[in-house]
Amino acid sequence: MTATMERVHRGAAAAGGPLLFLERTRRVALGEWVIVRMAGQADRRGQVIDAGEQATVVQLLDETVGLAPDRAEITLTGEIATTVVGRELLGRAFDGHGASVDGLPSPIGEGVRPINGAAINPVRRARPQDFIETGISAIDAMNTLVRGQKLPVFSGPGLPGLELAARIVEWSRAPRGEPFAVVFAAVGITARESREFVERIRASGAMSRTVLYLNEAAHPAVERLLAPRLALTCAEFLAFDCGVHVLVVIADMTHYCEALREIATAREEIPGRRGYPGTMYTDLASIYERAGIVRGRPGSITQIPILTMPDDDMTHPIPDLTGYITEGQIVLSRELHRRAISPPIDVLPSLSRLMGGGIGKGRTRAEHREWSDQLYATYARGRETRTMAAIVGASGLPPADQRALAFAETFEQKFIGQPGGRRTLDETFEAGWSLLETLPRDDLLRIRDETWQARASKKGAP
């Protein structure tokens, strides 16, 4: 794009927070990669976020402690931010800049790609409809994940969001044994969380098909804006150039958004809701929309971003804007977690928008939709009754409500909770049916007669 050569500036006009301000720059390009040198200090890297003849703003990715703007030597490289991609990255670990952190030499790779990516042309997208069996009933039964989907986990402080993502990585079975890889971007999470996640991948034997980009809490905040983009650029190469089905896990998008807010504030932008920039929707979309399938290319990118809802508030701008972009959400419940139900997924506010295309005859089971609707409806009724029962007592309730109340309890313990580990799809269906069959037929009006009879005759058969 930009054919400009490298240029060196002696001294910047100003520096503040993560930003550096240059004056009278020549031919500077938006997104241009910048290197800042100071004698006796490590090189710092940055990116042009406002390119102007009179004034240019550079966002620095490294700590600015000790940076003296007038003595810095600033190199405009003439390149936009890129990263090395290739199959040899599998099994490797990098920091949020893409520098190797596993003691091995930097990969040579099969190509260099701009990290911002480009939007998939909507007419070139293929419809995501291949069921991924995660082994988690609350997901497989009621919030089915399909390849090419972006399905975030809405966690809360202290809730096991990352743990759920680790489980999905460990337990997921691709439909036909096709090539499969995991790309993990740690964004501002603690070293402990990051280590635990990586250990679980290692223990499951998946490390050789995993790429790690680790920006932990102690690492520079601005680098958080880079890590997910590196991960997705790497994933896009694996998926769309090499035909691999890639699962991208990003944790935690809340830290990402905070870094975004920090930059916006430093630039004195007009803040939007709760101080987050008005451009956050578009910015988040530039990450989440990099999931999908491209027609005529064999691989796919499935995204599971994890975010922490501040104060468990789903209307907070981070989960709110995320929910508007992603294809559903898996919501964790503090109450279930407190009652030691694991995974503590609250199925009522959870949703998979792409479920319809991934289930049914030939994909999961013919009765999947109505069966899942029935589980949902009865559980929802039970939960509603629970609120009522807390006020007026269970004994005063109509019998159908009492049955729903009991159902909700068992459903949470035996269906949502999975102390016994992974469930196959058959086991999930069996668990669901056996709960439904404790209820009279008249309580189950979402199930059609044909389905009910088919189930009865199947059970009757030896």
Binding site: R26, G31, N121, T279, Y281, T315, D320, G323, M388
Partner: protein, 557 residues
Amino acid sequence: MSARIRRVAGSLVEVAPLRAALYELALVGHAQMLGEVIRQRGELATLQVYEDTTGLSVGEPVETLGTALTAQLGPGLLGSVLDGVGRPLERVAAATGDFIGPGARADTLDPAARWRFAALRAEGESVAPGDILGTVEEKPGMLHRVLVPPGVSGAIASLASGDYSVADSIGSLADGTPLRLSHRWPVRVPRPVAERLGSSQPFVTGQRVFDLFFPVAEGGSAIVPGGFGTGKTIIEQSLAKFADADVVVYVGCGERGNEMTDVLTEFPALVDPRTGKPVMDRAVLIVNTSNMPVAAREASIYLGVTVAEYFRDQGQRVALMVDSTSRWAEALREMAARLQEMPGEEGYPTYLANRLGQFFERAGRVRTLGAPAREGAVTIIGAISPPGGDFSEPVTQAALRVCGSMWALDASLAHQRHFPAVDWESSFSLYADQVAAWFTEHGGADWTPLRRELVALLQRERELRDIASLVGPDALEDRDHLVIEAAALVREVVLRQNAYLPNDALCSPKKTHALARATLEVFHQGEATLASGKPFASIDLVPARRALMALRDGGEP
């Protein structure tokens, strides 16, 4: 000195020295990205660029095009999939591949396609704007009327039937003005009409809750505000598929890529039950997903409404779906912030309400310009995505003042999987009286009383539930229990509608009426039972419920 880029900040580019007209188009940079002048101060012009500006450099050249952003209107629009500035995405893909690259140029209408034009006017006749020169069968059974463009009139010097491309001259006027199958119109300017008309005709959505409770008139407008997961997109898509309109323009503004894939997969395979033809044959899709450039998102709704007006001017009844109006408003906000304009509420520019009003006012039922005399209509259905599902925010509030119906979506209904999740208490329609006569004729004679009784029943239920949640269900009388159960039936049978069940996805006014009536019948029978002295416990509603659901899931009566 030639015009060069002085600054690049996101989608905003400052250029000097350049003296241009506001909203004039320009080619920006070596990649020749499309942009539009939005501010001019002395020799400094500020442009918004419709493409990704990453890598765009200070010092690159800029060239103005002398024209505003226009829509190319003519045969070939139906069935096409355009981006926010009117480039067909298939041809963008042919130019830049599976991922959208910079600088792709493509006309909206395929220059290579040839159309069979049948002239209806002859040499020597004088024509005025809006006159129908002739027709092209754009899709099987779908006649595209070729119009004299607004502002053009005179005596026909030549006009001949034959096979033409959209760029070919099909004839000319005496003053030498060439006539073509297509013309261009600036998207930000409403197309002229002879007269704006009132409307007693409803826009029949095929969705019971809208047609029965919150109807919208043909040529009216409705907004659909709702938090995420409340089903805005499903409603917009159901309407695009099943609503009674001749042409549907669907604008996916800043929404999900995979959702558009759904539309693109489904529409060609779906058959319009009224005409038996693929839904795609009556549709124009305008797609600017959330990760595509923001400035083009801002332009996309204007392109959409201009295309809609063009079909209206041919005498068609057009439905324009915008999903989502909020993303358009956010694009406006983003531009305003980069221009460092003084912000209004929540950072939105102070002209938000104005612009929104001007947009929604482009809906309407009209007598078009030109001969033969004809009427056409544009109905606008705009989804709104309020942050946190809070309707007090500026976009919802501004839209409320200009729309005629509000279909408020409610998260708790969505969590109960009650779809369409329309909250019957806060939604409204200003058109109900206006279209009552039509529904009485085409739905059933007691349409209005039926509607009133259902509303009353639902209101009573809400009151009783409030009481019950305070003092417990024991405090309710038998009649109250009946009201609660009957209202549950109304919600289940009449208000809920399953977009995935073939027999239920589309419901005619007749079937809506039959279901509403049958449900109330159950209530009345229950009342009779109670009146005869029997207790509520003696009423078994299960068989009635099953019968009603069978009626709902069965075919048209």
